[in-house]
């Protein structure tokens, strides 16, 4: 059995988030137990309104649970002060959103270095780190571009680089491919794959089955609760040809 503070990166028991009162009460997250291992890529899938975004907000300290217990890397965070949460978000968590949330008037490299500057790092160190991260997401040659001059896939890669700038314990992504076409989705999936290979812990909420299929583990969520869990590890089924209608 897992005790809080042991080997999990994210650990939650009976996690709840409610809105409204009495007849209007909405149980957005309704008693969820969760363990995410360090280095694991977890996908949470479900229809819109199932509570998956609310769950992600709780995990990232953007929102406070109505009940239950939540630990990040052994630290209890569900009762942390606003100040403590703000610090946690700045120092330990990387967020990736569907709509990228880049600053339109800043260049790619300025967007990426911003969190480090806000955290009080020197301009020089911040810029060096941002340049490294852009290189990592294969956009070194776009460093001086404004977001408006980048494709959707490139913008999301800049946003992912920014999410990595504080060396987060965990990256939380909310529908990261929701606004992307097929080709750009492939870029983002490749990038997540390389982060996974580098040991980054990732929690992604999505209704894109491509992300779900390439994660280590897939949780299905309905009406605020987990209803199913699938582990998709293991080798290839070797049926690719058959899938395209080629006989063996």
């Amino acid at each position: 059995m897992n005790e809080p503070g042991s080997t999990s990166m994210v650990w939650a028991r009976g996690l709840r988030k409610e809105y409204g009162q009495q007849a209007g009460l909405v149980r957005a997250v309704d008693g969820v137990d969760l363990d995410v291992a360090p280095g694991e890529t977890l996908a949470v899938m479900g229809p819109s309104g199932c509570g998956k975004s609310t769950l992600l907000h709780l995990l990232g300290g953007l929102d406070r649970p109505s009940g239950g217990e939540l630990h990040l890397a052994g630290r209890r965070i569900d009762q942390m002060s606003e100040r403590g949460l703000a610090r946690l978000r700045r120092e330990a968590i990387g967020f990736v959103f569907q709509a990228f949330h880049l600053m339109d008037e800043l260049t790619a490299v300025e967007n990426v270095e911003l969190p480090a500057l806000l955290a009080g790092r020197s301009p020089k160190a911040s810029r060096r780190r941002a340049a490294d991260l852009l290189d990592q997401v294969d956009l070194a040659d776009r460093a001086k571009f404004l977001p408006s001059a980048l494709s959707g896939g490139q913008r999301q890669r800049v946003a992912i680089a920014r999410a990595l700038s504080n060396d987060p314990l965990v990256v939380l992504a909310d529908e990261p491919t929701g606004n992307l076409d097929s080709e750009a989705t492939l870029e983002v999936l490749r990038l997540f794959d390389s982060l996974h290979a580098a040991g980054q812990t990732l929690v992604i909420v999505t209704h894109d089955s491509r992300i779900a299929a390439t994660a280590d583990r897939l949780i299905s969520m309905r009406d605020g609760a987990f209803i199913d869990e699938t582990r998709l590890t293991g080798g290839s089924t070797g049926q690719l040809g058959a899938l395209a209608g080629l006989e063996g």
């Binding site: 229809p47 097929s182 080709e183 492939l186 999936l189 490749r190 794959d193 089955s209 491509r210 779900a212 299929a213 390439t214 897939l218 199913d228 699938t230 998709l232 290839s236 089924t237 070797g238 049926q239 690719l240 040809g241 058959a242 899938l243 395209a244 209608g245 080629l246 006989e247 063996g248």
Partner: protein, 175 residues
Amino acid sequence: MQQEVVLALLAKEPSHGYELRARLRQALGPLGDTMNDGQVYVTLARLEKAGLVVSEQAAGVAERPDRKVYGLTAAGQQRVAGWLTEVSWPKPDLAEFHLKLIAAAAAKLADPLAIVDAQRRELLRRLRDAQRAAMAEPDRSAAGLLLEGIVLRLQADLRWLEACERTWTKRKDES
């Protein structure tokens, strides 16, 4: 291998069997891995018998299929032209699965939701394979385009399974 595919590959110019194989591999990438190398020669032999291709043996070498150059006959040209304009599309076989759920529920032999669940896991495994293969392809490769088609179809099937799950959950709640 479908005969028309092999015929159409010969439309550009007469070729050796191994050249056709190489072009197939190029177009299919990892999807062609399970292709049997002998298949192309078997198909070529059938096409020759049917008068759709002719072969020419290079002078002074022993008679072996891999030494021959194959080309289209007039009839072969015609078949290719017909095939290219023909509208054909593989039929999705959804009725069988649909009827399985209905029969299972009616006879109370199995829970339709469990059947949907097992099917979803299998499709997710296939999607994983196809998506991983697509991620390994260079951008805009021919095989990558085919893999994208497979991925999109599997996604559509998974969405239909979601609809199956919703409907059968409601029926269960009502009964």
